[in-house]
């Protein structure tokens, strides 16, 4: 539930650095579980640039909507087009097929991202 190779935000996004200055971004298992059945993911166009913490889209479930905030500043290289027809991938495979955008990191990775252990502690505190 907390892959060690990812970085996490307090708002339950994850970021997976590829090592070449790019990274994938999605929402965590905890986030998808809290949302319930995802029915639509509204994503930006490739080329859009976002600062850290800026809203880059929304994820809609049957019962609610949640903003997507950029974990670290970057420019969108690609969005996960498969989510248009299969938004349920966010529930079924949040760290894999449910990825949302691929970004080119602008500058260094944000310093305040959480590692897996710190994020697990945060989630554990929120659920109790």
């Amino acid at each position: 539930m907390f892959p060690a190779d990812l970085k996490y935000t307090k708002d339950h996004e994850w970021l997976k650095p590829a090592g070449d200055g790019t990274a994938l971004v999605g929402i965590t298992h905890y986030a998808q579980d809290a949302l319930g059945d995802v029915v639509f993911v509204d994503l930006p166009e490739a080329g859009a640039a976002f600062g850290q913490g800026e809203e880059f889209g929304t994820v809609e479930s049957v019962k609610t909507v949640s903003e997507l905030n950029m974990p670290s500043a970057g420019e969108v290289l690609e969005v996960n087009a498969a989510l248009a027809d299969h938004p349920e991938a966010v529930n079924e495979d949040p760290y894999g097929k449910g990825w949302m955008v691929k970004i080119k990191l602008t500058g260094a990775l944000a310093g305040d991202l959480l590692d897996a252990a710190a994020y697990e502690a945060l989630v554990s505190a929120e659920s109790h």
Partner: protein
């Protein structure tokens, strides 16, 4: 997560929900399952095509009994109580003098002068106080039976087939919005052919202490039919598709019964009742707003409860309930809009997070079961 679960009220099925790994939420002060592991979409689908089982023990029950009971319930509600046969149920409301809602409720006629009033959980205390306060001068007793009553709702087209093996009471002859008393799985129940999902089904009332046994018996009987435990999440999408009102959304103490489209529960010619004069006046003057059903035109535009309805940057109404509809496959909702706009095909806009999106008025109910 500011409210701890220990402060919330619990139904007799709380442990059963937790054992089923339900996701629990604070629903009007009650610790209730919003969904089970199957999820809202699967639970919604089960109710529409097979069956779902809901815990509705949080609902409030008020019994009114005695020589003045009929007169009191007639006085308290706008629907024609005297027309109810013993064993029949109807949907109605408690109204304030100005015609707005104290609550909506079901009235069960248990006898010539005995009625069971079933009210919303969140309004239960307010409703009981309202009935007591208005019962002065009526020769009857008013008892809050909520603490001693459990309730579960079996809903869906396979309900009769699932329930019949558990009871000697013939279920098929019970008409829609009728009830009887009988034993289900050896437990004394009020068996009511009612519900809040738009499907066939039964609401079973029993003693609090019997509720978990009844729940487990029905769940076990339905397993091979595809019965799923169903939470409040799908209860909301199911009732919304059928345009059934929810207190705090389509109706509340600022909205009167006629603009809510509930003229059919208001029998102005039945004699006096609380709110009648205001509704007579409202009927004479055209209502400035009306409740309509709408869909948004783009897949990405999903309206939600309480969003503003706008025109030329000005708010002209509000959304009461809205969600992506699992059965209809579109994003739909209910909204109050100016009466001059309120016709099928009419367009307006809804402000979704600062963006005005197009919506079109479509006929309601959005979903109607094939009988």
């Amino acid at each position: 997560m500011s409210t701890s679960a220990t402060e919330l009220m619990k139904t007799p099925l709380n442990a059963a929900h937790r054992a089923l790994n339900a996701k629990m939420v604070d629903f009007g002060g009650w610790d209730m399952p919003v969904q089970y592991p199957a999820g809202i979409l699967a639970e919604h689908e089960a109710v529409r095509t097979k069956a779902g089982l809901f815990d509705v023990s949080h609902m409030g029950e008020i019994r009114v009994k005695g020589p003045g009971a009929l007169a009191l319930v007639e006085h308290l509600t706008p629907n024609a109580v005297s027309k109810l046969a013993i064993g029949q149920v109807h949907y109605t409301a408690f109204l304030y003098e100005n015609g707005t809602f104290v609550d909506d409720l079901l009235v069960y006629r248990e006898g010539e002068q005995e009625f069971l009033l079933v009210v919303n959980a969140g309004n239960s205390d307010k409703d009981f106080a309202w009935v007591q306060q208005n019962a002065k001068g009526f020769d009857c007793t008013v008892v809050n039976e909520s603490p001693i009553t459990g309730q579960i709702a079996l809903q869906g087209p396979l309900s009769v087939g699932i329930l019949q093996p558990l009871t000697k009471t013939p279920l098929e002859p019970i008409g829609y919005y009728f009830f009887t008393h009988g034993e289900v799985a050896g437990i004394k129940c009020l068996i009511s052919r009612t519900g809040y999902t738009g499907e066939d089904g039964f609401e079973l009332y029993c003693a609090t202490g019997d509720t978990e046994r009844l729940w487990n018996a029905v769940l076990a009987a339905g397993g091979s039919h595809g019965l799923l435990p169903a939470g409040l999440g799908c209860r909301n999408t199911l009732r919304l598709e059928c345009k059934m009102a929810l207190y705090g959304h389509e109706i509340d103490d600022t909205i009167h019964a006629l603009e809510a489209g509930l003229g059919w529960i208001v029998k102005l010619d039945k004699g006096d009742f609380i709110g009648r004069e205001a509704l007579l006046a409202a009927k004479a003057a055209p209502a400035p707003r009306k409740l309509v059903g709408f869909k948004t035109l783009e897949k990405r535009d999903i309206a939600r409860d309480h969003m503003p309805v706008v025109q030329d940057g000005k708010q002209i109404g509000f959304v009461t309930s809205a969600a992506p509809s699992p059965t209809c496959g579109i994003n739909l909702g209910l909204a109050y809009v100016p009466t001059e706009l309120a016709k099928t095909g009419g367009r307006f806009q809804i402000e979704i997070r600062g963006r005005a999106v197009d919506a079109e008025i479509i006929p309601t109910p959005f979903y109607k079961r094939q009988k």
